[in-house]
């Protein structure tokens, strides 16, 4: 914790709670503990030497989704998510991470994915492209590889339809997003170093990712730690936006709403590209939820929350579904496999939840 962070938590700790109304964990627990100012107060008291972090305080720090929604509403622009992550990193160094997070670190180190799946089966569910001399490396990310393979397969299909030769990496490791976010820096850098090595060694000129967590890790976290990938990296929504003309058309009567993933929106500032893709193929822009773009509510599936507090995570996801339902849309699109996974589970059959690339793959007819 540096001086700037100390000054920030001092202000945030004694704020009259100007952002609490959008904090998803306040929504889930309805308590002043898992809130931005609550976390700041714990850190402020620790810095001032008033009170050490006890076990419950550490729990409160791990009840943060790091969604950064509070930052949208903070006039002094205090980035509590980053401060929490910084303290989580120190807690890891002190050996004081929650057991569930320690287990997660161990699983990723062994299997290179957070789902405890064998690394050897990483590409097992995917329809592997056979292109020679590929021009794109598709970094699938763990969720698309193991749990949301429809997204990976649609990505391969759509990129192929656009005329690109796509390569997948058998030895892709977890991007380490869950490890960075939970403060497990040492293990994160192990994964990152490996990925940088194989991505830089590959002959393809571009990298496309499905997962905003991967995008943030590869483009922000890796460089922050001196790890540079020497080729451009695109989220699939950015890439589709660059090639909108070839995407085809959907039935314009299908009303669509769009959920901004925190990592893509607030953390990587990608808001317009997915919307342009939707408008391009539907002929109409998405029906916006009241909370959209910088003010979009988190889906509830981030920074280890679902792992440790599944009920709270689901409650947040369900609320996001309620917000989507209020638009009257038939389809809720996201651009994050992690978001889709939780939102789909919470949607039941009330609204269909798809990733943008699945929408493009399955709902469009070729204009040519």
């Amino acid at each position: 914790m540096n001086d700037e962070m100390a000054s920030d938590v001092r202000m945030c700790a004694a704020c009259p709670k100007m952002c609490r109304h959008v904090c998803p964990t306040f929504f889930a627990w309805r308590s002043d503990a898992p809130t931005p100012h609550g976390r700041a107060l714990l850190l402020h008291q620790e810095i001032k030497g008033v009170r050490e972090l006890d076990e419950r305080a550490i729990q409160v720090l791990y009840q943060c989704l790091e969604c950064s929604h509070c930052l949208t509403w903070c006039k002094p622009e205090i980035d509590i998510a980053s401060i929490v992550e910084s303290r989580r990193t120190e807690l890891a160094e002190e050996g004081r991470q929650p057991t569930a997070i320690k287990d997660l670190v161990s699983i990723v180190r062994s299997n290179h994915n957070p789902f405890d799946e064998p690394h050897s089966k990483r590409l097992e569910k995917l329809e592997l492209p056979t292109s020679k001399n590929p021009d794109i490396v598709y970094f699938t990310g763990c969720t698309s590889a193991y749990q949301e393979e429809e997204i990976a397969n649609s990505t391969i299909n759509v990129l192929s339809r656009l005329g690109f030769k796509v390569a997948l990496l058998e030895d892709e490791w977890c991007c380490a997003s869950p490890l960075f976010r939970t403060g497990s820096l040492e293990a994160a850098l192990e994964q990152a170093n490996h990925n940088v090595e194989i991505l830089n060694a590959h002959s393809a000129e571009k990298i496309v990712v499905s997962c905003p967590g991967c995008l943030r890790a590869l483009t922000i976290d890796y460089p922050k730690h001196g790890l540079e990938i020497t080729k451009p990296i695109y989220h699939i929504s950015q890439f589709l936006d660059m090639h909108r003309d070839g995407l085809g058309e959907t039935d314009p009567s299908i009303q669509v709403t769009y959920h901004d993933p925190c990592h893509l929106g607030r953390h990587c500032n990608v808001y317009d590209e997915p919307r342009r893709v939707i408008e391009s193929i539907s002929g109409i822009p998405p029906s916006e939820m009241e909370r959209n773009r910088e003010n979009a509510m988190c889906c509830g599936n981030g920074a280890g929350l679902r792992l440790m507090y599944p009920d709270a995570s689901k409650k947040i996801g369900r609320e996001r579904i309620e917000q989507a339902l209020r638009t009257g849309s038939k389809l809720l699109l996201s651009t994050c496999p992690f978001c889709k996974n939780l939102l789909k589970q919470q949607a039941g059959d009330e609204i269909e939840v798809l990733d943008l690339v699945e929408f493009v793959d399955k709902y469009t007819k070729d204009v040519n």
């Binding site: 000054s7 202000m11 009259p16 309805r30 809130t35 008291q45 009241e290 209020r326």
Partner: protein
């Protein structure tokens, strides 16, 4: 504090009633739940001081649970401090004698909009902004949007007799509350059924509005709602002094016009809040207005108001300053490096008086507060046909905590004394809580005995929020 055996028994009973997820004795939870928005609490937090803590926090979600908690508390003779959004500015939810903090945040359901009778039924823990957004979605407004609206709850509004920034048109919460469900200290649940008016003796609803948790717990309420106005139109006029501004406001009401917003900034507040963005002559005061209604109605009201303003020598500033205030009205509420550096502390003494006394109250309080080298900025807002409130805002910075807290208290003591001496009332909308508790006897004079008798009758064991509202103050 009760002995450890009894405390264990108490915790066990609460666990049985609510389940372990909704009872906590964790120190971390107590620390985080102690934090309200009293500027002195906030300054103490920044200085690294610990606030008084409850012994237990409970999170009920039904009226029955609240009722049972109060019965248990009466049996164990332990204080109960109801907490809403934790957004109060007077320390009203601080557990100064320990006890059970009864956190109402799980009472978070908006039950029903009744469009026929134009009212909404809500639980007490609904956050103000959540209700307002919900109503807006249906084409209505609560008319109640205080600066704390993002963090304060319906129950807290009612418990503190709060006022929104548009109270001149829509009224304060005591005008907006049609019905109540209330749990008495004995655990008995009573209802004040929603009716527009009645003649069945004194209005008991008004006994509980503003009771600040000292007479029981608000669990549900029925509030008035209004159609969203077709437009909100802003207008601003500078005037040469406070006296002229107040004369204009009086004439506006005499003309039968009720703007939704009427704010008159004194020269210091104009210089601080307005002149930084608009070219206002030094020493002038800014009058900011808003009109809610149809275009044709606003045309008429605005024209009449401007005639009054121009006749009194006002200079038309168009929509600018008023509209800017509206769009930035939450900014002042955020901490900033300027307002939080060192042992800086600022607060607002919001008072109210009739027009015949209002200007004297202002001058007298300003002198008394400035005598302690405080920077004092003031505006008149929440104006009504018979008078209105003054926001006496002050800042002081001292070299150490001890002198900062002492200076803060002197400014309050002398400011309130000056207000009372000139015939003002020492709180318009922030309530009493802890910060004004010692002034209640002087404010109510002989009528305080009535409040005290009611308290003793309804809460004979004195368990409900002791030390607040001048009641059950212990050594």
């Amino acid at each position: 504090m009760i002995d450890s055996d009894k405390f264990g028994e108490l915790v066990e009973k609460l666990h049985t009633l609510l389940g372990s997820d909704y009872v906590t004795v964790q120190q971390t939870d107590k620390v985080l739940n102690a934090h309200d928005a009293w500027p002195l609490s906030e300054a103490k937090i920044r200085a690294g001081e610990l606030l008084p803590l409850a012994d237990i926090i409970v999170f009920p979600s039904t009226t029955r649970e609240v009722s049972e908690i109060l019965k248990i508390a009466n049996k164990f003779l332990i204080p109960v401090i109801p907490v809403g959004g934790g957004a109060g500015t007077c320390g009203g939810t601080l557990a100064i004698y320990g006890g059970i903090q009864l956190d109402m945040k799980r009472f978070d359901k908006i039950l029903e909009i009744d469009e026929t009778s134009m009212m909404v039924h809500v639980e007490a823990g609904v956050v103000g902004v959540d209700l307002e957004e919900y109503l807006n979605r249906h084409g209505y407004t609560s008319g109640h949007t205080p600066t704390s609206v993002r963090s304060s709850n319906i129950g807290g509004f009612i418990a503190t007799r709060s006022g929104g920034s548009m109270s001149s048109l829509y009224g304060k919460i005591e005008d907006l509350t049609l019905g109540l469900e209330f749990v008495l200290p004995s655990g008995e649940v009573i209802f004040c059924k929603p009716v527009p008016r009645h003649s069945v003796g004194p209005d008991l609803r008004q006994l509980f509005i503003g009771s600040e948790g000292t007479l029981g717990v608000i669990t549900k309420a029925t509030l008035r709602i209004f159609p969203l106005p077709e437009e909100r139109r802003f207008r601003s006029v500078s005037v040469k002094d406070v006296s002229t501004g107040l004369e204009i406001i009086r004439k506006i009401f005499r003309a039968g016009i009720s703007p939704s917003i009427i704010r008159l900034y004194d020269p210091e507040d104009t210089a601080f809040s307005v002149s930084t963005h608009f070219d206002v002559a030094e020493g002038d005061c800014m009058l900011m207005l808003a009109f809610d209604g149809s275009t044709s109605k606003n045309d008429l009201d605005e024209a009449t108001v401007m005639e009054i303003c121009i006749a009194e020598g006002g200079n038309d500033f168009g929509a600018g300053p008023a509209e800017r205030w509206w769009n930035h009205r939450f900014d002042m509420y955020y901490p900033s490096p300027f307002t939080t550096s060192g042992y800086a502390i600022g607060d607002t003494i919001d008072v109210v008086a009739t027009y015949d006394k209002l200007e004297n109250v202002y001058h007298s309080m300003k002198s008394a507060m400035e005598a302690h080298e405080a920077v004092v900025l003031s505006h008149f807002s929440h104006m009504y046909p018979n008078g209105g409130s003054i926001y006496m805002i002050f800042f002081t910075a001292q070299p150490d905590a001890e002198s900062a807290w002492a200076t803060y208290k002197k400014i309050w003591d002398d400011g309130v004394a000056a207000c009372l001496k000139e015939g003002g009332t020492m709180s318009h909308q922030h309530g009493v809580g802890l910060s004004r508790s010692t002034y209640v006897v002087d404010e109510l004079e002989s009528a305080f005995s009535v409040l005290k008798s009611i308290k003793e009758k309804l809460d004979p064991n004195g368990i409900m929020n002791p030390g607040k509202l001048g009641l059950e103050v212990r050594k």
